[in-house]
Symmetry: C2
Subunit: 120 residues, 2 copies
Amino acid sequence: MSFRTHLESVVNQVDGALACSVMGFDGISVDTLQKEDAAELELNGAWVEYANLLGQLRQAAETLKTGEVQEVSVNSERVLTLMRLITPEYFLVLALRADGNYGKGRYVLRVIAPKIRAEL
Amino acid sequence: MSFRTHLESVVNQVDGALACSVMGFDGISVDTLQKEDAAELELNGAWVEYANLLGQLRQAAETLKTGEVQEVSVNSERVLTLMRLITPEYFLVLALRADGNYGKGRYVLRVIAPKIRAEL
C-alpha cells in the first residue's frame, strides 16, 4: 500500500517542508518523501531516535492523565520536526526548515492523519 | 533569585496558559507559577518526565547535526506543553489548554528565554 499521494500533498501544502514520512514505532519507515534539496540531512537517523522517544512520551502522558499524546515537536536551529500519531503503531513525521510554516504543518498533519489511518 | 515576574508575564500574555516553570534538567523546578484552575493537573510529575526526555532528545539532535534542540512540544488531548532551552542546565516549560494560543506561546517563550538566561 502506498501513501505517496498523501505525503506529496503534505509536502506541497507546507512552505519549507523538507520531508514527510509514515513510520512505525519500531523506527522503520513505511513510506518517505524527501525533497532533493534536503538530501544532505540525515533525517532517517533522527526519526529512529524520535520514534523511540515518542513511544516513551506516550507512556509518560498516559500515566499522567493529561490525555493521550497526539503530537510531538522537536525544533532545532535548522530543522523543525513535527510528529503526529496515526495509530498506536504508526505516526507521521514532517521535517521543515526553521523558517517553514509551522502552524500550517500542524494543521495539515491533523487533517491527513485520519485519511492515512483509514488506509492502514 | 526569583523569576516570578517573567513567569507571570508569560502566563498573562498567552491565552489558555495553565502554568509556567523554570526547571533544571534534573527535573527540579526553580520557580513555578500555576493558575488556580489548573490545580487538578499533576503537572510537576509530567515535567520531571519531560525533563528526562528533553535531555535525551538534545543528545540525539546533537549527534544528528540538525543543530542544537531549542524547543520541544508534547501535545495531548487536553494539554499542550511547550519546552524551550534556556541554558544547558535549565529550560522553560509552558502548559496550555488544548485550545490555547500555541503560536503566541512559542513566541513568548522565545522572547523571554534570553531575559531569564541573563539572570541565571
